[in-house]
Amino acid sequence: MYQLLFFVFAGAAVGFAINLLLQRHPIHSALSLIGVMASLASLYLMLGAEFIAAAQIIVYAGAIMVLFVFVIMLLNAGEEERTQRSRFAKYLGLPLILLLVTSMAAVIYRQVPQDAMVRFGDFPGRTADIGRRLFLNYLLPFEVVSIVILVAIIGTVVLARKDSETEGPGKAVVSEK
């Protein structure tokens, strides 16, 4: 049962990811990416990591993807233009990807000890466990996060300041095309 569900969601994630690359219009790619995030959240849920799954939906599918969709809505990003594919990419692209994937798989396979398998449903991912681990074992990374967020906020303000200089107050919401 769990194996079956795992392959359903993993297959959905990979399928959405491939669809993301194939779609020509950015909105369809963005929707596929939301699909990838949702499938990943389902996989986390199957492991028993409920909080991580909810955080995945709220932060990735709910917040970061809103940003993507906003860009598409605001900029009127049109159909993607395809260039004439280079011969190099055409003949070497697929073999190189296969090489990359197999080497990654080999490394991961060697790194993971055989007896320490994660079982479905008994991952210590309840909100309370996360809270205890985050605030006792991983204190420094947590505080560093606030610095990272601070840097991001500074970046936002820089963007906002440039905007107010060029536009000035009182400008209509819809700008001229």
Partner: protein
């Protein structure tokens, strides 16, 4: 997947089926006689001047970035709030440092005028 999610999946399926069935049922009874003028986007009765998908103000984008940033901050508050009793004063001080840095950032954003709409 923990067993308590099975009813949620059933609920999701039923909630999706409801609009599908309604739309299909409506398809059987409703009229359909479209013509070009009827299908034109609404613009108070006149011919639409241009394609509606133009370029709009970047303010919305900045709101979205600020939302992403503060949303990440909020998500850290949830496990802390749940474990508040066990973590005690130590956890409180940790969180106050975390929030302190962000409140400084918030005040700075406020002072710089990034929250002004126009």
């Amino acid at each position: 997947m923990p067993a308590e999610y099975i009813p949620i999946v059933i609920f999701l399926v039923l909630a999706t089926l409801f609009p599908v069935v309604t739309l299909l049922a409506a398809k059987l009874v409703r009229p359909s006689s479209p013509y070009a003028a009827k299908l034109r986007p609404y613009e108070c009765g006149i011919e639409p001047e241009s394609d509606s998908r133009g370029r709009y103000t970047v303010r919305f984008y900045i709101i979205a970035i600020l939302f992403v940033i503060f949303d990440v901050e909020t998500i850290f508050l949830f496990p802390w709030a749940v474990q508040f009793k066990t973590l005690g004063v130590f956890g409180l001080i940790e969180m106050l440092i975390f929030l302190g840095i962000l409140v400084v950032a918030y005040i700075w954003v406020y002072a710089k005028g990034a929250l002004e709409w126009v």
